[in-house]
Amino acid sequence: MSTSPLPGDASNDPSDDQTGRFVVQPNGRVRPLSPHLQIWRWHVTMFASILNRMTGGALSVGAVLVFVWLMALAFGPEAYATFTGWMGSPLGLLVWFGLTLALCMHLTGGVRHLIWDAGRGLSPKAADALSWASMIGGVVIAVAFWAFLFSSGRVGL
């Protein structure tokens, strides 16, 4: 049984608030509290947006790994052989596959956000379609990339 009143029944007067919908900001102003993640209905645009932030964070690790690749190369053949030895192991390949997936999804997700920022595709239907398209597109590019890598014999387990 719900203890808090329905949103439509709640008072919008902060001084009369018994629902915890208002919060006192550090500067002393009373502001409505944003609904937490658990309260939002799950939606694909929300998921795609969260995914874009998560893949972006993962790619920071990827940037460090690419930097280590450059460093190994600059330090000569022995350092480079050590590096490719680690990265060519099954675990290393899994990490690089994950980074490729993050890169491709961040790429398609970024294009989606650029389309939205241009003011296009913002109707609920178009926004949902763009979210699905960007996520599926990212996975397809990443999987195709690794399929080509393995089929060309450049990479093997």
């Binding site: 790619l59 940037a63 930097f67 460093m71 000569g76 790429l107 970024g110 014999g153």
Partner: protein, 135 residues
């Protein structure tokens, strides 16, 4: 300049301080990175399994070296802005936020500076490090 100057574009009030510039920089770096990322995937494919000699041969092409340096610098710029937004959103203590942002800035400067240093050496065909650095 008054801090309360209001600027309007097409009847919409725009940021009074640096918000609009940050927004534009995020989009500009994204747009530049779209073609560079596709080129990066292509390059990753070309470099895979090529070993040390293959990678050195790849760096002998000035186009590759310059594009890689540009990709690195724009990526680090984009990454710094992205991580700053995450920290701004989730870290509420001003001291912790400043410290984290400082660390992120330091990491980004290090990645950019040392990365370009390595790329220049590889493009010029310099001897493997630590040549001449006395280690």
């Amino acid at each position: 300049m008054s801090r309360h100057t209001k600027t309007f574009v097409k009847g919409v009030k725009v940021s009074e301080r640096h918000g609009a510039g940050e927004w534009t920089a995020e989009r500009l770096s994204s747009a530049i990175l779209v073609p560079l990322t596709l080129w990066g995937l292509w390059s990753g494919f070309a470099l895979s399994g090529g070993g040390y000699d293959g990678a050195l041969a790849w760096f002998r092409s000035p186009v590759n070296a310059v594009l890689l340096a540009v990709t690195l610098l724009v990526s680090v710029w984009h990454m710094q802005m992205g991580l700053k937004v995450i920290v701004d959103d989730y870290i509420h203590k001003p001291g912790s936020r400043r410290a984290l942002l400082g660390l992120i800035g330091l990491l980004c400067v290090l990645l950019a500076a040392a990365g370009v240093f390595f790329i220049v050496r590889l493009a010029l065909g310099s001897a493997p490090l630590p040549a001449g650095f006395g280690i």
